[in-house]
């Protein structure tokens, strides 16, 4: 069983944290990843910094540019994956990338290096199923899950086509837009989770806009098996330049608070001690 399948078999729902490799610096990036895992991130999504991240909102775009200014290269990202693998052998790592990074390196080399570093999955944000034949054989050869994306605008026919190639888990995009914190999530999440659930047995994780404990609860109540939080954590890194203790504490506090959303809302008449940690 792959590390990703093992996680979802063991835990439900799971908390997925996102960070951009090399943000705020190449060395500091591992400390951030370690802090996230130690605070309760079950699966880590590591973005490879890219000059033109069009699917991302301003917070994550600035993180990409900070990482590039720090000189982060794909080699540094693979080194980070290796460090995470050593620190937390059981925590799955998914590389989140724009396709040109893979195209430039060559898909054969990219997937070989990702597998050698210990990555479990790759999510290519700008490679829809129409174009994914370019990477499919390489991902399969190296045992890397290709994490598929489904958006609220994805037609049922496309959902089927996307799910045919998916493995690991399916990333459901909660809203029509780019990544970034929102005050509230759109009402259609339960419908999207339900519609995709009918078509696959894969775990479903919801991301984009999920930034508060109540959002996490909404997503879990919609029937998802995982939530993905990005911008809310990346913003903490941005807000604590040069202040590692402050950043560490803020990350820990935020993740602990967000994780509370994984637990079902207690009924008023149920005593607190009967709640089950998830």
């Amino acid at each position: 069983m792959s590390r990703i399948d093992g996680l979802f078999a063991r835990k439900n729902p799971v908390f997925i944290g996102f960070t951009v490799a090399g943000d705020p610096g190449i060395g500091a990036s591992f400390r951030v990843a370690k802090a996230m895992i130690d605070a309760g991130v079950d699966l880590l999504e590591i973005a490879i910094p890219y000059s033109d991240p069009v699917a991302d909102g301003p917070v994550i775009e600035r993180a990409h540019l900070r990482a590039l200014r720090a000189g982060t290269t794909p080699d540094d990202v693979f080194a980070l994956v290796r460090q995470v693998r050593e620190h937390a052998p059981e925590v799955p790592v998914v590389l989140f990338t724009y396709y040109n990074i893979i195209h430039r390196r060559g898909p054969g080399r990219f997937f070989a290096e990702a597998a050698a570093a210990g990555a479990d999955g790759v999510l290519i944000v700008d490679l829809p199923s129409e174009e994914s034949g370019e990477v499919a054989p390489f991902a399969a050869r190296h045992g890397i899950d290709r994490i598929a994306l489904i958006a609220p605008t994805t037609s049922p026919e496309r959902q089927h086509a996307i799910l045919r190639e998916a493995s690991g888990f399916v990333y459901l995009i909660s809203l029509e837009g780019v990544t970034g914190e929102r005050d509230r999530l759109p009402p259609g999440i339960a419908g999207l989770v339900g519609a995709v659930r009918e078509k696959t047995d894969l775990a479903l994780a919801v991301g984009f806009g999920v930034s508060r404990p109540e959002h996490v609860r909404t997503v879990v109540e919609a029937g998802a098996n995982g939530v993905i939080v990005g911008s809310a954590l990346v913003r903490i890194i941005e807000e604590h330049p040069g202040d590692w203790p402050g950043m560490h504490e803020a990350l820990r506090t935020a993740i602990v608070a967000l994780r509370r959303g994984l637990i079902p809302d207690p009924e008023p008449d149920i005593p607190r001690r009967e709640r089950v940690e998830g």
Binding site: V54, Y99, E176
Partner: protein, 390 residues
């Protein structure tokens, strides 16, 4: 060839959220392309509103200097002052047919933003234009023009704060507002079907030029020259000549020279990569990060180029050359003085190439230069450059 591909180039490298909009756009385009009512209305706008057809001007002084017969295709005389309106009228009308209620666009120098603002005003659609913060300062006059035409200009403060970041910002807006918004992309770049749509709407340039030169000379020209940034004016004039025995030359921004890092010559010096939705030639580093580019002409200051040009380069059907800032500036002054026509700095690159190469044609040779825009927008900037500097 796969749908949406030009040889191996093109494709749809976009986030899943955008796919439904691209599929809708492709379907609508297929439909309006066949719809006589759409053609009738677009023809009306092109002829009665925009001023088509544009002249193919025989330039006596230029011909004497260059030693061959030189014609300019006068897109500078199109309403708005550049070829951009051919595409914005077509796409804005298409947006109307799709029931969209809002147009968004990106702009570098401001020409495409102005052309979108004009089309939006004429077709009664609100327009918002993304423009890099750096460009809003460099092209303050065009910001004013867009606002005067009723558009809202949104400065983009991310990345290098220029054209590529304006495109990124417009794509982000589109992802969030697909249902009521049409993204009116200004060049033959981006994901399928944009390169095809823009080429088709711009092909009117080449169709007219081909007919006009046949009427005038009784034969096809020897060479057609156009500048290439994203490549829309070039593909527009080249496309109707592709199957003819006519040499086609695309002229890229050589900036401070191709041996420096300061240029915008993605075909001459780039490598194959995926950028803003398409596989094409790209100025990128070893890891696949887009490089910052430079050109004196803001409209050519872009790290990538339309995928059809990438195919035409590989097949050898079009030859791509580069002209430096200094050569373009010299041609800008030369054409103004010699013919009384102030070219856009972008179009001055095509003129500069002609100055360099026309001698090879001989006195019976026929050369057509696409004068894609007029240079009024550049006059203030050129005035600041000391004469001796270029």
């Amino acid at each position: 060839m796969k749908a949406g591909r030009y040889g191996v180039y093109g494709g749809q490298y976009v986030p899943e959220t955008l796919m439904s909009a691209l599929i809708e756009l492709e379907e609508t385009y297929g439909r309006v392309h066949e719809d006589p009512e759409f053609s009738r209305r677009l023809d009306w706008y092109l002829h009665e509103y925009a001023g088509r057809e544009t002249p193919l001007t025989y330039c006596e002084n230029l011909s004497r200097d260059l030693g061959c017969r030189v014609y300019l295709k006068r897109e500078d005389l199109l309403h708005g002052g550049a070829h951009k309106l051919n595409n914005t009228l077509g796409q804005a009308l298409m947006a109307k047919f799709m029931g969209k209620r809002r147009l968004i666009a990106e702009t570098g120098a401001g020409q495409h933003g102005v052309a979108t603002a004009i089309a939006g005003a004429a077709l009664d659609l609100p327009v918002e234009v993304y423009m890099g913060e750096v460009d809003t300062r460099r092209q303050a006059l065009n910001v004013f023009r867009m606002e005067l035409l009723g558009a809202r200009v949104i400065p983009v403060a991310s990345g290098s704060r220029t054209l590529k970041d304006a495109i990124n910002a417009a794509m982000r807006d589109w992802v969030a507002n697909l249902r009521d918004t049409h993204y009116l992309l200004g060049s033959c770049v981006g994901p399928h079907p944009f390169p095809r749509i823009v080429r088709d709407f711009q092909s009117v340039i080449g169709e007219e030029a081909r007919r006009q030169v046949l009427e005038r000379e009784g034969r096809l020209p020897d060479t057609v020259v156009a500048c290439v940034g994203g490549g829309s004016n070039a593909i527009g004039i080249f496309y109707p000549f592709v199957s003819d025995d006519v040499a086609l030359v695309g002229v890229e921004a050589g900036g401070e020279g191709l041996d420096t890092p300061h240029h915008g010559a993605s075909l001459s010096r780039g490598s194959v990569g995926v950028f803003q939705g398409a596989l094409s030639y790209l100025l990128q580093d070893g890891d696949g990060q887009a490089l910052e580019t430079h050109s004196i002409a803001a409209g050519l200051d872009h790290p990538s180029v339309g995928p059809e040009h990438a195919m035409l380069k590989d097949s050898g059907r079009v030859r791509y050359e580069a002209v430096t800032d200094a050569e373009a500036l010299k041609a800008f002054r030369y054409l103004s003085r010699t013919e009384g026509i102030i070219p856009a700095l972008e179009s001055a690159h095509a003129v500069a190439y002609a100055l360099r190469a026309a001698g090879d044609l001989g006195e019976d040779g026929i050369l057509v230069i696409n004068l894609s825009g007029r240079g009024d927008k550049d006059v203030a900037d050129v005035a600041k450059i000391p004469r001796g500097a270029a």
